[in-house]
Symmetry: C2
Subunit: 223 residues, 2 copies
């Protein structure tokens, strides 16, 4: 079975990469900087996006693509309530966004008016890692109550990251989470990975992330 | 593309169901009661299994099949340290266990000596829901810090459940979690679903779950 299966998977991946490159070109033509946000269910993707929008919406126009496995618009509604355009992609039960879905999402956004597109991928630590969307960066949100062993158990998603956010640091006193053990695991997989610890609830830790992101957006616009 | 894809998926599912039925027969012949435990990464599957073993190991022999996406034996080591046999299945990056992997796991366990097999599925709220393993029950562990909107966002996994555990109830004072909203979502998808709120950390709430499970194991042995 595996002898039949591997070539099929490779074919899908290369088709995905072709579309991802088209997405990348389209966004570059429109001067749009894009972020693919991945995480477990409930790590705080939507809250993190809303906190980021709040801090940058006076400087940049930000659109959001919301990936959901079901036709619920809970997250998209929150983004629209925050005053930014959002598109919901219902994967129909699929466990990740792919470059084709991303392309469909981009077609629904007013790209020429946007500076940034944030993609909220489906909540899943495994499958989204295998599908490039064409974004400038891949970002993972880990969260303290998930536990400190996640890099060891879900290594693939850590390997492909550009940015790691550690959310819910306000819960550290109430759960068992050894930051050194967690960080050691991350460093084994992705040495030097830029990491920002934050709490979306208490709003601590956001300034360094926002400063980093602002600089990246401006650099991409110049470059 | 979808016209080509759907029949292939159906074929895989029916092959999976065939093997799942063989697993069910094998376990029934050995008087083994089996539980498929699903959850997001970090909801507390391993802790829940260890708490359950601790409370039942004087009455029953319990074997564990640990599904992991990577060759790490963190969870299996904990079960073996608790004095019970464990088998690790490394899915090689795959996002769920299927009935074939389950069958391979069962072949590695001393089934004739066991009363119970607990399967720790891969941490994922989407893909495991589609693959029957042949267990007596499908159990989901939700956890309070994941948020109260998960039934609305990941409905498929809630639809096929026999038991719902709500873990980390000790964190309720520190996070936003509306139990009524969560429960309403669950009831829409799976009316009357038997639910046990627990905390693996403080160990509260375990008695009703253990009483329920003990009765089910004994009933299956008699029937």
């Amino acid at each position: 079975m595996s002898a039949i299966r591997v070539p099929v998977v490779e074919k899908i991946f290369s088709a995905n990469d072709r579309i991802a490159n088209q997405n990348k070109t389209l966004m570059a033509e429109n001067n749009v900087y894009a972020i693919n946000i991945m995480a477990s269910p409930g790590a705080g993707k939507t809250s993190f996006i809303l906190q980021t929008i709040k801090r940058l919406q006076s400087e940049f126009m930000i659109g959001v693509i919301e990936g959901d496995t079901a036709p619920v618009t809970i997250d998209s509604d929150k983004v629209i309530a925050a005053g930014m355009p959002a598109v919901q992609i219902n994967t129909g039960g699929d466990c990740h966004l792919d470059a084709v879905m991303m392309s469909e999402g981009l077609n629904q956004l007013p790209l020429a008016d946007l500076d940034v597109v944030i993609v909220e991928n489906v909540g899943n630590l495994i499958c989204p890692a295998a599908f490039d969307l064409g974004t400038n960066i891949n970002l993972l949100i880990a969260s303290v109550p998930e536990g400190d062993d996640k890099p060891y158990k879900y290594p693939n998603i850590y390997r492909g990251l550009d940015i790691l956010i550690i959310n819910k640091i306000d819960l550290e006193p109430y759960v068992q989470f050894d930051m050194d053990y967690f960080t050691h695991g991350v460093q084994l997989l992705n040495p030097g990975l830029t990491t920002f610890p934050v709490s979306c609830r208490t709003e601590e830790g956001f300034e360094p992330w926002i400063d980093w992101l602002r600089a990246e957006i401006l650099k991409a616009k110049q470059g």
